[in-house]
Amino acid sequence: MTRFLNPIAIVIITLLLITTKCVYAQEIGESEYLQLKNRLKAEFMQKLKEEIKKELIDELKSEYTIEPKQKQVAEKSQTTVKINDPKNESKEVSTREEETVKYTEHQKGAEEIELDKARYRLGEGFTFGEQLLTIRGFGNVNARYRDNNPSERFDSGNNFFSLGEFDLFMTSKLSNRISFLNETAFEFERSGDVEIDIERLLIHYDVNNLLKIDVGKFHLPLGYWNLNYHHGVWLQTTMDRPAIVEFEDNGGPIPMHDTGIQLSGSALLEGFDLNYACAISNGRGVNTTQRQNFDDMNDKKALSLQFEVQPHIVEGLRLGPSVYYDVIPEDETNPNRENEIREIIYGGHIVYTMRNIELLTEAFVINHDEVSGDVFNTFGGYAQFAYTINKFKPYYRYDYIDYDNSDTFYRESKFDFFDTNTHTIGLRYELSHFNAIKFEYSHGVFDDEDVNIIGLQTAFSF
């Protein structure tokens, strides 16, 4: 019996085992299948979400910030859309929600990224964080040959290489209507020293188109060149500034920088735009180079006022007058400058820049009226024409200054103020988008001395 039972039992057990295994296998297979399916689905969705998020962040990275008020307005407007469009309401809502979720995710992602690292964009310079600080710089290196040196004060040789200014420009947007601007120049002195000069340092309040307020140190609204070309030589067509608007510390006769408050704005009228700028500042110190950034020696403030018209009928044309008034303090250390001088500068410019043409003309009259009753007048100006042909820009400039030689303010300065009559021809070549090579020849008469100068400059922005 046992002999028969054993094989039967074995068969039964085997069948049971097989059956059980099949059922078990079938059950495990289904659940595994479902688990696998769910896991793959979750992984796939996660991956897809990450991909979309990454793509959005890449696209929008560091591009914008939205004020909470604007968000509220946007939300309100979304509600309006829903009400106005009842047919597609559910579809519209879900789409808007998706976009909002994506946008919020992007915002978080962008913030994380932008707080971590700086961004460099060609043409804009370095930006740290989201519109927090932009840094850009300028530099230039010159080589010159001249056949005569009219100055008896400086024996600088007749052929030389020279480093131009190394100029750092920084801006920061503090809010939608407030920004900060700084321009710091590192100037290489004849003595070998490097002077760090804060050329512009101001906080800007943007009220509306009609009123913008700058407080700090700025370029005075006096003429076209001074407001449009600052220390970055790369931006200007020629190697040097015109003699009449040369910077104070390079022997310029007109004050170019000052510390105070400036109001400016534009009225966009029918037929023409009217720009204005008005500054109240400390004014000059006792000589042409002294800038009163910290205090005002005689408490008498300088006033600058400039108007400019841009008629719509001739696109690219700008013209307008400017005036500057100041009382220059007496110099107690100099017996020849023991009186205050009332200074009034009248200026005017006519400028036409359109497509390939650049035509700049400016003229100034500098009136110095001493308390003693002596009155001195200096006349100066320039006319510059340039025409762009692809990467080349040939140019010509005529500079003229006629000083009153008995004007004690200029006569007692550390610079030579020569009567100037100079013709300059040159060629600017854009070697790359941010590097220009300028070659120029000029023939000048400084007082009665003829001087021929050949110059080569590489000017760049980074």
């Binding site: 929008l60 914008y64 060609l122 801006t171 947007k173 188109n209 700025f218 600052h230 534009s266 735009d273």
Partner: protein, 154 residues
Amino acid sequence: MRLILVIVFVPLVIFVTNAYATTAVIVNKTNPVSDISYNELKQILEAKNQYWDNREKITLIFKPVASNETRTLIDKVYKIKYEDFDKYWFWKMYKNEIMEFPKILNSSGTINILVSEMSGAIAFIGVNDVSKRGNIKILKINGKMPDEDGYPFK
């Protein structure tokens, strides 16, 4: 045969639609302006006018300089070389005339979203790329919509 037709006609269609796409001027729907004169638009584009009438700050949004939309604007409004476009804006910043650079975005979709979200934004994209569901509207220029004769950015 079908392959040849695809090879020939698809690039042709893409070329034609891109090359001759009209540039639409889009703003947020909450913006009270619906019709703008060409001169007013030019003042906005040149950043002479930086505020809407409701005192909202204007945010300019462009596609990259290589795009047809921006090149149309450069040709017709700025009248400068394409490669000088970034220099133009940098110079404005250097002169302290603007506080930030205009936003340059590659994707029309992103521009649509951005204009939908920013009440002061104004953007310039191909008329076919304007989203129909976003919180945006197309501005008329001198009373003309992009599909009408006399529209300046065709």
